[in-house]
């Protein structure tokens, strides 16, 4: 039977999937496994996938409401590996797709998994505007500094000097600084993490999920095939340093003075300018009304102004003016 969710009194359709009767048995992360990932052994993306499973398990997001969206690239094979509703969209446009989905289905928390090419190159414009509008979703950018699926071309985050098939003598263009880009775009939650620190990735995912609005996680995810060792400097196991941002506790202690205030945009921008490997954690977080909520307010106010009339009466009234 088809569930209609029209609210007969208001006339406006409420778009939310019905809650299932009874409490389903809690699921384990292993239940979420689907197709065997096609990534190369050792790829950083495995970690992100595993942690997404753990996030769903920990939060027990209703199985039928887990919605995973992706574009194109190695990272974007993600939805096939999750046993849940999912979409494998076109290159660079996953955020635009998710914008429509999120706005029309406020009952879902849409997760988008993307890569540096998908998010920062071909999809750069969509990222910027979804961030500016604060459309509710979580975007995880699995950044490996290289085009992997097409087998080693320069990506927007490849450093100068990186030798690829499109830059055989070394990349010449300045790379994008993702953190600067995301903060400047107006994203209301911007975090940075790395596949080499799974606990930290999970922490960031949980905080992103609790954030109302556009949350984005830049996650270093090593490509062992085409750019091995790219992130060693951020990996303590490889002799690097994984420095976690200490956030202000507002406890009045002198140490607190030195801690980072995530609501301070200028301070966040300063952190973003640190040379690689930089720091990890929440760079920026600010409370701003989500586009979804603003639209709902607009709907409520407009509906109230027409006395919550049903669609037929609304259209009849408009047509009376056009006679």
């Amino acid at each position: 039977m088809s569930e209609t969710t029209n609210n007969p009194t208001s006339g406006a359709a409420v778009v939310a999937a019905p809650t299932q009767p009874g409490q389903p048995a809690p699921y384990k992360k292993v239940d979420l496994k689907s197709d065997r990932p096609t990534w190369c052994p050792g790829c950083g993306d495995f970690t992100v996938l595993d942690l997404y499973f753990r996030l769903c398990e920990r939060r027990q997001i209703a199985r039928e409401k887990i919605t995973t969206v992706s574009g194109i690239g190695c990272s974007s094979r993600f939805p096939y590996f999750v046993q849940a509703h999912g979409v494998h969209f076109i290159h660079g446009r996953a955020v635009a797709f998710a914008s429509g989905l999120s706005l029309s289905r406020p009952d879902l928390h849409v997760f988008v998994f993307s890569g540096d090419g998908d998010a920062y190159s071909i999809g750069g414009n969509h990222l910027e505007h979804a961030a500016r509008k604060n459309i509710h979703m979580t975007l995880v950018v699995m950044d490996n500094n290289v085009y992997g699926l097409t087998k080693k071309q320069t990506s927007p985050t490849s450093p100068i000097g990186f030798k690829s098939k499109t830059d055989p003598t070394g990349a010449v263009d300045r790379p994008t600084n993702p953190m600067k880009k995301l903060i400047a775009a107006g994203a209301t939650f911007v975090a940075r993490t790395s596949h080499s620190n799974p606990q930290h990735v999970l922490q960031m995912m949980e905080r992103a999920m609790d954030h109302r609005g556009f949350s984005v996680i830049e996650c270093l995810s090593e490509c062992v095939e085409f750019y091995p060792g790219a992130f060693d400097a951020a990996n303590p196991r490889k002799g690097g340093q994984f420095t976690v941002i200490e956030e202000k506790k507002n406890d009045g202690t002198p140490e607190d003075e030195k801690r980072h205030d995530p609501s301070d945009e200028a301070a966040a921008y300063k952190l973003a300018t640190l040379p690689f490997p930089g720091v990890f954690g929440v760079f920026y977080e600010v409370k701003q009304p989500a586009k979804n909520d603003r639209e709902q307010q607009l709907i409520d106010a407009t509906r109230a102004a027409v006395g919550n009339a049903p669609p037929l009466a609304c259209l009849q009234k408009t047509f009376a003016r056009l006679k």
Binding site: A17, D31, E64, Q83, G86, G100, H126, R303, L312, T318
Partner: protein, 601 residues
């Protein structure tokens, strides 16, 4: 104005009243003169008086200022085109007079402002009526309004000339001015009454429309094609739309942005054309078919995403209000040259539904039909409107909203363990569950642009591509079998069959009526379903010696336009030719008849 006498005497003092069935009035001035307001009020008033009406306007491509015209044709019967020739020309300026006198028919009336226009009174083909509209308006308003308000003076003048019901007109003016301040409205009425009171006796005659006997009694709606399309979408239950501003389709997004919240819906103005189609597809995936509206350049940008919707089999409505192309082309002129991109645009074998409304009324019903087809066949539907339909105002019978207006429920029906999103069924039509739908065994679907197996997962086996390509094509073939065969206007057999689609319908039909009246009857067919085509066309074609496709696009490398080429490839019939033009304007009836004669030679 068929019954109007060709009297050229300007001396009669008392105007006599001549009954007429049809009148074409063109007002020529500059874009800031408010002539569009007069035109629209006249059009709406005609609808309220049960007269059929069709309008045509040009807006300069500049941001403000520049010559502009509004033409309105009012008839006591079906109005099929905006009229080849003008019965009454109103010229505000010398340039208006010079540019538009050629459109005035022999015996027509020129109303001009003698302060601005010096007509050649020796040209005895026309009746000249000099009305100092500018100075009389200033006098009527009291000097402070400069000549703002001369449009209302003109409205009064026309009301007197055509013996329109001033009580009704003033009521309408009050509605129109409901949100304007009192002093503006006072000036408006003063100007209107001054115009109505102007002594037009010198013109020799006034006119009165004979009652419209074809009317069924249902009230007439008066709106432009873009409006009709936007309200059609709302009536059909669309509650999410996304677009990027582009001429001449922006009005659709403006209306949806303002109206959708009333219906609990959202309209998203996007950063670009690509984002808007992607957001609409995302909302459709969410469970209710969504819309994106655009014009040619935008459709070009959207084609990759439309290809995804074809591949993933997601419903989507795309409105293309065509303008002249390619590239930036003619943004404010009409053309029908997006047929190829609508049907074939994009890479790969990419079948989708394409329909084209024939007029403003049809624009309302076509957008509803597009929503239904997208839902039923789970694929994109492209609606090809054009600038002429989008901008012109027409009167049509009020739709039976109680029967039409619906809400579209989201299908959350739980699916069984055997559920496969891309099952290779007989009709090939999938029924995708929206996210939030429980699936037994938790075997959830992935919707994808990769070629996939029935479960929606990419596979190495090339046979899937064979099976799925056939499945996506088959559902459209099934639709094609069910479509109604279009009706032939004029004789069922004969020399020449004219075939039209989209906005060429009106002038083509009028050409048929004229040819029948002239004793050299032509026949015509209007095809609304462009892809797939309706059945039975070959049977109709067999009964004619020559088939000419009337379309506003280029005659192409091989001598026929885009739709003619499609019909030739479909039917392999070398008798199919074309009547084409690319001047950015709708066909005139005369142009069609002359082209038929030329091709008959």
């Amino acid at each position: 104005m068929s019954n109007m006498s060709d009297s050229n005497s300007g001396a009669a003092v008392t105007a006599k009243v001549v009954p007429i069935k049809d009148a074409v009035i063109r007002i020529a001035g500059n874009s800031q003169d408010g002539i569009q307001t007069v035109g629209e009020l006249l059009a709406r008033f005609s609808g309220r008086s049960a007269q059929e009406v069709m309008s045509y306007m040009t807006i300069p491509a500049t941001i403000s200022g520049g010559p502009s015209i509004y033409q309105v044709r009012i008839g006591s019967g079906e109005v099929l085109s905006v009229g080849d020739e003008v019965d009454v020309l109103v010229a505000f300026y010398q340039h208006s007079y010079e540019k538009h006198l050629g459109a005035l028919r022999n015996g027509g009336v020129l109303i001009y402002d003698p302060d601005q226009v010096k007509p050649n009174l020796d040209d005895k083909r026309f009746t000249y009526v000099g009305v100092p509209m500018t100075s009389l308006t200033i006098e009527a308003i009291g000097g402070k309004g400069r000549d703002k308000g001369k449009n209302m003076f003109l409205l009064g003048l026309i009301a007197r000339m055509f013996d329109l019901d001033t009580v009704k007109l003033e009521t309408m003016l009050k509605d129109w001015g409901a949100k304007r301040d009192a002093s503006t409205m006072e000036a408006t009425f003063n100007a209107f009454r001054a115009g109505y009171g102007f002594d037009i006796g010198r013109m020799g005659q006034n006119f009165k429309f004979i009652p419209n006997e074809q009317r069924s009694g249902r009230p007439l709606m008066v709106m432009a094609g873009n409006q009709a399309m936007a309200y059609g979408l709302i009536a059909a239950g669309v509650r999410f739309g996304a677009a990027y501003p582009i001429t001449p389709s922006s009005q659709i997004m403006e209306i949806l942005r303002a109206e959708l919240p009333k219906y609990g819906g959202i309209f998203l103005q996007c950063e670009d054309e690509i984002a808007s189609v992607c957001a609409a597809i995302g909302a459709s995936y969410g469970g209710r078919v969504a819309v994106t509206s655009t014009s040619g350049p935008g459709l070009a940008l959207k084609t990759e995403a439309i290809g995804w919707a074809v591949m993933a089999e997601i419903p989507l409505v795309v409105i293309d209000v065509q303008r002249g192309g390619p590239s930036t082309g003619l943004p404010t002129k009409m053309e029908q040259s997006d047929l190829n991109i609508a049907i074939f645009g994009g890479h790969g074998d990419c079948p989708r539904i394409v329909i084209a409304p024939a007029d403003v009324e049809d624009a309302f019903y076509s957008s509803i039909e597009a929503v239904d087809l997208a839902r039923q066949y789970s694929c994109p539907v492209i609606v090809l409107s054009d600038q002429a339909i989008g901008f012109r105002v027409e009167a049509f019978e009020e739709p039976d909203l109680a029967k039409i207006v619906r809400e579209l429920p989201i299908d959350f029906t739980p699916r069984g363990a055997e559920f496969k999103p891309y099952e290779d069924t007989v009709d090939g039509i999938p029924h995708h569950p929206a996210p939030g739908t429980p699936i037994a065994n938790n075997n959830f679907p992935i919707l994808t642009g990769l070629e996939h197996n029935e479960a929606g997962h990419p596979g190495e086996d090339p046979r899937y591509h064979v099976v799925m390509t056939a499945k996506r094509r088959r559902k459209l073939q099934k639709l094609g079998e069910k479509l109604p065969t279009p009706k032939v206007f004029g004789p069922a057999e004969g020399e020449t069959l004219l075939v039209s689609w989209g906005s060429a319908y009106g002038p083509t039909r009028e050409a048929v009526e004229k040819s029948v009246a002239d004793g050299q009857p032509l026949s015509a067919l209007c095809i609304r379903y462009l892809n797939p085509l309706p059945p039975g066309l070959d049977k109709i074609f067999e009964r004619f010696k020559r088939i000419l496709v009337v379309e506003n696009n280029d005659s192409g490398l091989y001598g026929y336009g885009q739709f003619a080429a499609l019909l030739r490839s479909r039917f392999g019939d070398p008798r199919i030719g074309g009547i084409n033009k690319t001047d950015g304007l709708s066909f005139k009836v005369r142009e069609i008849l002359e082209a038929v004669r030329a091709q008959a030679r």
